[in-house]
Amino acid sequence: MAITREDVIYTARLARIALSEEEIEKFTVQLDRIIEFIDKLKEADVKGVEPMTEALGEKNRVRKDIQLKSFDRETILRTAPDRDDNFFKVPPVIEDK
């Protein structure tokens, strides 16, 4: 077993996903098979090989720091699931004492 039930529960917590008992069982079996499969990678000899982080060998590009036309506030707030006037509305993150 590469993946245990506890691994699945812990990983799901990191990813902010709550799993049902049924999902935990199913994902444990499926993820175990997938991780076992990708473990084949251990056989690859990568001594002295650089990691590839992008496809074309281009360097990072940065744009000039100049002001450009952007979305107006209303356009962006229109997509919010909940709002209060000009703000996104979220549950309290600071407790009242």
Binding site: A18, R33, T75
Partner: protein
């Protein structure tokens, strides 16, 4: 004359000669979308496509539902984005609009482009127009099915591990995955950013070239968009096949590949050889690790990209009571209720391989092997001009057949994912039908920025092969 059966190139010709109005073309396709609604290829349809500009006209495009069109839904076929309306046009949409194209609607796909069958969709599966008990492939299954069934003359898809080429093969149409960076990703909902590319799904190679001329080009708002530009592709002539060196990677003609697929692909090889191509056996030794590398890198990038779906700024928010009082629970419930099983599975794999203690063994190792995979291609292209492979080991499989076996589903992309990992371009072209009348595709792979060669070779092959039928 049935307009729905014509290529985009032929439609443009008719329109230019004023034999037909743009609105007639658009109406034809719109009517067919409603007539063949049972295929479930479209998840939204834009009736206003009838009102086109007759002065500046381009045949209408079907758009995969992970590409943003201003003031239209972009759902990624996920519950988490089901009601989301895009405030802007993707780069490719902007380009097409400027050329006079309107959009027929948004096409069905696997949720967040994660899948190979278009079954992982909140809108239900798309059916393969050749055989409605089969999947159309995925994740751009709705786009491929719509082009194959004559519901759209051409379509946009996206390809992270084969999501344009594999459904094109399953549906008997042409699909091109461009060189990484050639088409801007601005306005494409991110899945795995180092692999994702938008590309055309069309009836003919020529149509793919016409689309590429419009959508390729540098975009300052995509930091990985290439500054190198492609020459015009739509005017590229057929390639002289005599002397063209074509490589067959021995690792791609393995046991386990469907006998009929192998026969049809080898028939294509014979056809090209008889036309003067030089066929050479080559080796891509590290391709045996491609699926492993892909299923580490793609989920890792996805788990990071999809962290933005938290129920705060856009998308689905859980209405559970506990979620109203606790921010962490709001994130957790919104994501748990909003994402489907395959997306959760990939987020978990990605989070696992990036987590403390596993990063070096999985993610870093995968990035190193990715270098080796690219080097295999670089070495091969010193010997040959084009690499020819099957697109998928099997023809379209049955609906429901692989849903419970994710690993088996992942293996249907075994011949396409190396291309994304290396960043090279590849095209899928129909090469025949099985005894059960299911299409099979052949893949031509070229080196970085070799789109002109891929197109010219594709044109020449298409001529040798003869006209390929549509599904209806």
């Amino acid at each position: 004359m049935d307009l729905a059966l014509l290529s985009v190139n032929e439609l443009i010709e008719l329109y230019r000669r004023k034999e037909i109005k743009g609105s007639e073309i658009n109406r034809t396709f719109l009517e067919r979308i409603y007539k063949y609604k049972d295929l479930n290829a479209f998840v939204s349809v834009f009736d206003e496509v009838e009102n086109c500009n007759e002065e500046n006209y381009l045949p209408p495009v079907a758009v995969k539902d992970n590409i943003c069109i201003a003031n239209k839904n972009v759902t990624c076929c996920s519950k988490i984005l089901k009601d989301f309306i895009s405030p802007y046009d993707a780069f490719v949409i902007e380009r097409l609009r400027n050329k006079g194209a309107l959009f027929l609607g948004k096409t069905n796909m696997d949720e967040f482009a994660m899948g190979s069958s278009t079954e992982n969709s909140v809108f239900g599966p798309t059916l393969n127009p050749w055989d409605k008990t089969k999947v159309p492939g995925g994740s751009s299954g709705g786009s491929a099915a719509s082009v194959a069934a004559g519901l759209a003359p051409w379509a946009l898809g996206s390809d992270t591990g084969g999501s344009i080429r594999q459904p094109a093969s399953f549906c008997g149409v042409v699909g091109l995955k461009p060189t990484y960076g050639v088409v801007s990703r601005r306005g494409l909902v991110a899945f795995a950013s180092s692999l994702d590319q938008i590309g055309p799904i069309t009836r003919t190679v020529k149509d793919a070239a016409i689309m590429m001329d419009i959508i390729a080009g540098h975009d300052a708002f995509d930091s990985t968009s290439s500054t190198k530009t492609l020459p015009q592709l739509s005017t590229v002539p057929e390639h002289e096949l005599k002397g063209l060196k074509i490589g067959l990677p021995e690792e791609y003609f393995i046991e386990g590949i469907d006998a009929e697929v192998k026969t049809l692909v080898m028939k294509t090889v014979k056809l090209l050889e008889d036309a003067g191509c030089i066929i050479e056996k080559i080796s891509l030794p590290n391709s045996r690790f491609a699926v492993d590398v892909y299923y580490i890198i793609a989920p890792a990038e996805a788990s990071s990209n999809l962290s933005r779906f938290d129920g705060i700024r856009y998308g689905y928010r859980s209405s559970k009571q506990e979620a109203k009082k606790d921010l962490k629970l709001l994130y957790t419930y919104s994501r748990s209720e909003g994402f489907g099983p395959e997306v959760k599975r990939r987020i978990l794999i990605g989070t696992y391989v990036l987590s403390k203690g596993y990063y070096d063994a999985y993610y870093l190792k995968a990035q190193k092997v990715r270098s080796l995979i690219r080097k295999d291609f670089d070495d091969a292209f010193k010997k040959v001009d084009i690499i020819l492979t099957p697109v998928s080991p099997t023809p379209a499989f049955g609906i429901g057949e692989r849903v419970e076996d994710p690993l088996k589903m992942y293996l249907s992309d075994i011949f396409t994912i190396s291309v994304n990992l290396a960043g090279v371009p590849a095209i899928s072209i129909p090469c025949g039908l099985t005894s059960k009348k299911l299409p099979v595709g052949v893949q031509f792979i070229g080196k970085h920025f070799s789109e002109p060669l891929i197109i010219s070779t594709g044109l020449a092959y298409e001529k040798l092969r003869g006209k390929f039928p549509l599904a209806v």
